[in-house]
């Protein structure tokens, strides 16, 4: 499997420990690794070349600071460069001063234009607009029907005067739709066009025709996150053929690293406005360049994780938990079950863990782990009596046999769960002894849980020092981004190697 960039760099830098400054040869080797990492992420080759040249230039001039080792520094440079190219900041939709605002969707076949049209409409509607969907994809069989169903689900009217499936003139439909929108007082018109190949001159001419007929305020290119090297050609030809003002990245809920985002942005200079992350209508969000940078580098996405956590964790429940932990009370199986169910609401386990930086080792194991394992664990716990959940020590042979029967598992599974849970409990106890808060100096002591659990302490660590005051926290967000990098800048220089989680230590060449 592909290694993450930080893993690659860790290997490269193994022998560099203690060097005050990187030699050109060191940097060359590093840049080669970066090149492979970017190519694996499907960033287009010319973009990779340019990018690497810039990283090299910056890395050459940089003094190695005391707090950072060379690998951390290079990763930081790469990440910064990526964020710069990806947009630095997110752009909003440009709304026309005189309604209706016209948004036209463009893209290859199967990029997800029709689905996206629905999502965009639903999103605009939530934000207080009255969008109108226009079925100008008269090419693909039943694309019009699809848009109608999508519009119905989104609760947005669809303008579809032509049956489609090869019948009708999309340019005329687009032109009429504007008048229709004006009379029906829709303030935004979203035009769904047929998928077209960049080499198809007829269809490109047709797209130009639609553009000229409706004079759109925003032309959005819809790009599949899974696209490979062809992203470059596609973006260039659409830019030259029709022109566009922004990009929407779809299917980001897969595991493609989405290097296309970088290619398209770099080559055309147009920003990425939205990201579509699922099959449901509300799986749609503004684009976050910093998160995308981490994703391209396979470095995890802690911010999204936090957001998701905020959505599902019940504040009271969390307060109770926090109190329990800080008072040194035991974390019971019941608590564990509740937390587990909350986590399940956040999505699949492997996806969540994937968002944590520095979890490369665990991820490999997680590949074999099915989310149904969680169900099985839940079933085992649910087959216990409240007393047993409170104190697993009372579980004797016959109780265990009963639980196994009740949960449809084997006694070994019950045993193993109880044993693992005991270890976890120990960790929790040590944590509360060590200061009551993860991320505080007590943390390194948690090592009792073995290698894996050490790796896991990385995320809380990265966030230490964030303020509880929302205003202050917002101010810290930007700075803490750097802290999110695996193997990046801990807020304060680490005292000793031993205090660092594995991932950090690996980067330091230990």
């Amino acid at each position: 499997m592909f290694q993450s960039l930080s893993d690659r760099l860790a290997v490269t830098f193994k022998n560099l420990r203690g060097k005050g400054r990187l030699t050109e040869a060191d940097i060359d080797q590093t840049v080669r690794e970066i090149r492979v990492a970017l190519l694996d992420a499907d960033v287009a080759l010319p973009v990779v070349r340019e990018f690497c040249a810039r990283v090299k230039e910056r890395a050459l001039g940089v003094e190695v600071s005391g707090a950072l080792n060379p690998a951390q520094q290079v990763v930081k440079i790469v990440h910064e460069e990526l964020v710069t190219i990806l947009g630095g900041e997110t752009r909003r939709l440009q709304l026309s001063k005189t309604p209706p605002t016209v948004i036209m969707l463009l893209g290859l076949q199967g990029a997800g234009k029709t689905t996206l049209a629905g999502k965009l409409a639903a999103w605009l509607k939530r934000n207080g607009h009255t969008p109108l969907l226009v079925a100008a994809d008269l090419q693909r069989p039943n694309a019009v029907d699809q848009l109608q169903v999508v519009g119905e689900r989104a609760g947005v009217p669809v303008y579809a005067p032509e049956p489609g499936s090869g019948v009708g003139d999309p340019v005329a439909v687009a032109r009429q739709s504007i008048d229709f929108a004006v009379t029906k007082l829709h303030d935004i018109v979203i035009i769904d066009t047929a998928g077209r190949l960049a080499v198809d001159d007829d269809l490109m001419a047709q797209a130009r025709g639609i553009r000229d007929a409706v004079n759109p305020d925003e032309v959005l290119l819809v790009v599949d996150a899974m696209i490979g090297q062809d992203a470059l050609t596609t973006a260039e030809s659409f830019m030259a053929g029709v022109g566009f003002d922004g990009v929407v990245l779809t299917k980001l809920d897969g595991d493609a690293r989405g290097g296309a985002a970088l290619s398209v942005r770099q080559v055309t200079g147009q920003p990425i406005l939205f990201a579509s992350t699922g099959e449901k209508l509300d799986d749609f969000d503004v684009f976050h360049p910093d998160r995308m940078a981490s994703r391209i580098l396979d470095m995890g996405d802690v911010l999204t994780l936090i957001e998701q956590a905020e959505r599902v964790f019940d504040a009271d429940e969390a307060a109770r938990m926090a109190e329990k932990v800080s008072k040194g009370q035991d974390f019971t199986l019941e608590d564990f079950l509740q937390q587990m169910q909350a986590v399940k609401k956040m999505g699949s386990l492997s996806k969540l863990v994937g968002m944590l930086p520095g979890m490369g080792d665990v991820k490999a194991q997680l590949d074999q782990l099915d989310d149904r394992e969680l169900d099985r664990v839940a079933a085992i716990i649910q087959s216990m009596t409240p007393a047993e959940r409170e104190d697993p020590k009372i579980l004797n042979g016959s109780r265990r046999a009963r639980i196994a029967r009740g949960s449809g598992t084997e006694v070994q599974n019950v045993n193993s769960l109880v044993e693992r849970f005991g270890e976890a409990q120990k960790m929790m106890r040590q944590m509360s002894k060590g200061g009551g808060m993860p991320g505080m100096p007590g943390m390194p002591g948690m090592g009792g849980g073995g290698k894996k659990s050490k790796g896991k302490t990385a995320p809380p660590k990265a966030k230490k020092g964030r303020s509880g005051n929302p205003a202050k926290r917002a101010a810290q967000e930007a700075r803490s981004l750097d802290d999110m990098l695996p193997g990046a800048v801990p807020s304060a220089p680490p005292a000793t190697l031993d205090e660092l989680p594995d991932e950090f230590r690996k980067l330091l060449g230990g």
């Binding site: 694996d40 992420a41 499907d42 287009a44 290859l108 090419q139 693909r140 069989p141 039943n142 694309a143 029907d145 699809q146 109608q148 689900r153 190949l197 080499v199 899974m226 696209i227 490979g228 090297q229 062809d230 299917k251 809920d253 595991d255 493609a256 099959e279 936090i306 964790f313 969390a318 938990m321 926090a322 932990v325 937390q339 587990m340 986590v343 699949s348 386990l349 944590l356 665990v362 194991q365 997680l366 782990l369 099915d370 149904r372 394992e373 070994q412 193993s416 769960l417 693992r420 270890e423 976890a424 929790m428 993860p438 991320g439 896991k456 302490t457 995320p459 303020s467 509880g468 926290r473």
Partner: protein
């Protein structure tokens, strides 16, 4: 106690859950995993269909697009002659890369930069970094061994090496004929937006053109109007389409389609499934179920994974996961008429041994052709 702490706790707990569960799995050791899908490993019987055996002499024939009369059935273009268009279109999409290679190799000497360029060219075709490197390494060794610097010779070698990777000896025939009085079943799978429904429709046309009877199963009950789309394809060639309610159980639609196929005594049942990202384990389980349920009546002869030629390195992961869940027997590479090279199939075939069987070359109803390794490679090296 503040808000941040809750989050820290939440994440810590996630970590705990992983620790407990992962170890639990490890602890389970050799216990048979519940996810083992027994009964799915029956190897599909390979029967040579005549789809592939197109005489290359007919290659020059240009297929005439049949206009669609509204009430009568379409007469699909014969399968013969499609190869010629494959060549023509591939040549169009790949000429830049081919010429690039030629220019590179026509220099007087072949130095490190040239090799790097060759490697880059292969990478641009989405071949992947590792396979491209490997190929260039092998080529270097051969060039050194032969001591040749003749660009033409090097180009031939490159072609040979590429061809060896694509492996023309693989059986690329589609199993579409009746067996033991039961229809052949073809399941079409893939991620969203690769062109599964279109491929199913085109394949139905090909089969009808070859004089087969076909039943289509619209097991994509998820995407809006997917069943209508397939219905349109079916109506054009007069194939029965079995469909279920939107949002219904795809496995039951597939079951009904096969049942219909058996009672109607047709030759082939084509089942179109909903696009699903390979990362969604729930949806992948659903797909496993579709296949399992179908196999209660008839063994599934072919599972075709539809890959979009524009797909990058993620295609390999997709293929790996789909192969694991439904034992993919062949790949359909679509949208090859664009500028994308579809080099990812080389990596897929190398890792999974699953051959590309068909290629989609455009939006026309007859733009589906058998895969020709030689044409594919020729186009790559120009």
């Amino acid at each position: 106690m503040n808000g941040t702490l809750y989050l820290l706790l939440g994440i810590f707990i996630l970590a705990l859950i992983v620790a407990v569960t992962v170890k639990l799995v490890k602890g389970r050791g050799e216990l048979p995993s519940a996810s083992t899908r027994a009964g799915l490993d029956a190897p599909p019987t390979a029967v040579t269909g005549d789809l592939v055996d197109v005489p290359p002499e007919l290659a020059g024939l240009e297929t005439v697009e049949t206009p669609v009369p509204t009430s009568t059935l379409d007469v699909p273009a014969p399968t013969a002659g499609r190869l010629g268009r494959l060549r023509a279109r591939l040549a169009r999409s790949n000429s830049a890369i081919g010429q690039g290679l030629l220019a590179l190799l026509s220099g007087a000497t072949i130095d490190a930069d040239t090799w790097q360029e060759v490697e880059d060219t292969l990478i641009v075709a989405d071949l992947g970094v590792a396979p491209a490197r490997e190929l260039v390494e092998r080529l270097k060794v051969r060039v050194a061994a032969e001591g040749t610097a003749d660009p033409e010779r090097v180009r031939t070698m490159l072609r040979e090496e590429l061809l060896a990777v694509v492996d023309p000896t693989l059986d690329r025939s589609l199993s579409t004929t009746r067996e033991d009085g039961l229809p052949a079943v073809i399941l079409v799978v893939g991620v969203n937006g690769t062109g599964k429904t279109t491929t199913t429709g085109k394949l139905a046309r090909v089969l009808v053109a070859d004089g087969r009877t076909v039943v289509l199963g619209a097991a994509d009950t998820f995407r809006a109007a997917a069943a209508d789309q397939l219905q349109t394809w079916g109506d054009r060639v007069g194939a029965t389409v079995v469909r279920g309610p939107e949002g219904g159980d795809p496995a039951s639609v597939a079951f009904d389609a096969v049942h219909e196929g058996i009672t109607e005594n047709v030759d082939t049942v084509l089942i179109d499934t909903a696009g699903r990202l390979h990362t969604k384990s729930g949806l992948m389980d659903e797909l496993g179920k579709v296949k399992r349920v179908v196999e209660r009546q008839v063994p599934v002869n072919e599972v075709l994974l539809v890959l979009d030629a524009t797909t990058g390195q993620n295609g390999l992961t997709q293929a790996r996961v789909f192969a694991e869940v439904v034992q993919v027997t062949g790949i359909v590479l679509t949208k090859l008429d664009g500028t994308a090279k579809g080099g990812i199939v080389v990596a897929v075939q190398r890792e999974l041994g699953v051959p590309v069987k068909l290629v989609g070359l455009g939006e026309g109803p007859d733009d589906l052709a058998p895969f020709d390794p030689e044409a594919f490679v020729d186009a790559l090296v120009g």
